[in-house]
Symmetry: C2
Subunit: 248 residues, 2 copies
């Protein structure tokens, strides 16, 4: 259980955890990465604890690296969940028993958790195998009942992304380097959970000025080969810095 607990009792900030909502996009669907300890029957968000000598943001990066193999992920802290009835001491007690951890009373107390969302290209993620947990991608629209308040955390994460959609590099992180406009529109439709008009979408997204048309087309489909596009990273960063949709 070395990835969950250090051996010393006081190795972690007590009563404090981080949880990561890792979003990917595949076959037109938004997916979320979940994990599950072998000893309990509920899926949960990949999370972790914070070392006493570690920045909280660093702990989030560490938890992501362990689960995805990726070091350079787009990660955004979005909310601290701190209701006093959110912990589940019974399940945590079982985890301690199964893994024969003693003197870890802090693990049974109330927890507050700081949640992050991450945007990743699914094809780049290598799900790391380990002895204590399983991991899997699940469609956002068919999540099971998760551990504690983790369903609510995911819902709050997708709401945050919807509100910030023009301020986030969602296309750049979630798509392949080269993409068609219909692929980009499908991503926006999946996140916003509504259909978008094809022409209006094309006009608005190109007006933002950070998508370059490439001198090549997507070949091999049944239809006319569509144009390929890519993100202009410099222009994208510049827009992000200035607040992409500030009209004032």
């Amino acid at each position: 259980m070395s990835t969950l607990f250090k051996n010393e009792v006081k190795a972690y900030l007590p009563g404090f955890s981080i949880d990561c909502v890792i979003f990917g996009f595949e076959d037109g669907h938004i997916k979320v990465l979940l994990n599950k300890f072998h000893c309990i029957d509920q899926w949960m968000l990949p999370g972790g604890f914070v070392y006493v000598d570690e920045d909280v943001d660093q702990a989030a990066k560490r938890a992501l690296k362990v689960r995805t193999g990726l070091a350079d992920i787009f990660l955004n802290q979005f909310y601290l969940f701190g209701n006093c009835d959110r912990s589940d001491g019974e399940i945590n007690k079982k985890i301690l028993e199964v893994y024969e951890q003693k003197n870890q009373d802090w693990f049974l107390e109330r927890f507050v958790t700081t949640a992050y969302f991450a945007l990743v290209n699914i094809s780049k993620v290598k799900l790391e195998k380990n002895a204590i947990e399983d991991t899997m991608w699940v469609d956002l629209k068919s999540l099971p009942q998760l551990h504690m308040d983790h369903n609510s955390i995911i819902m709050k994460a997708i709401e945050s992304i919807r509100l910030l959609i023009n301020l986030l590099p969602i296309g750049k992180e979630l798509l392949h380097e080269k993409f068609t406009l219909p692929e980009l529109r499908m991503l926006y439709e999946a996140i916003l959970d509504k259909d978008l008009d094809r022409r209006n979408f094309q006009r608005r997204i190109l007006a933002l000025g950070y998508i370059d048309k490439l001198p090549e087309k997507r070949l091999g489909g049944a239809h006319k080969a569509p144009d390929l596009y890519s993100f202009n990273k410099e222009k994208y960063q510049e827009n992000l810095k200035n607040g992409m949709n500030l009209i004032w």
Copy 2:
């Protein structure tokens, strides 16, 4: 020191605090409410600790009520500050000594803090006098060097507000019930820290549809009496719910 400490050692979540950046608007300037313990020489953000049986959001409301006398404040959680070097054990030790608090070792350890920003009408705030701290409004542009990382927390708060400016009820919370368009523009200019074109501002803000022109004028000035406006609360709420500036 009853507002700071409960008597029991285990009354609070250890290593965890909340801090509130309370913004007001007066004479064309954005102001921030600060407080200072009599025994230490640094101003700080009004903050507090979280009871073991209290929701974190509730603790923030409690800290605000103590300082402002207001129960119904617009409050938005915006970031957890969790760098491992952000605490100042020396100053906290002094506070414990001056107020003769023993067995409160948790107060000397590393703290993470969840920060909220609040928007208030300054004229409604009653600064509560008490035996252990002073409070005052300070212009955002002339803040002193504050306790720990509190200057950074304020900067992050104003940046969050700038990014979310179209999603927040800033005018409704910070202005009086009736206002002129120049007053509203001055508020936007103060928050964004830049001049805005008078005509463009007027066109854009009215196009949002939630500001009603009243059948009265502001009297008593040297110039032609300007029209008065107020927020249409129902339309305002509806726009907030739908994400005020979502173009997709």
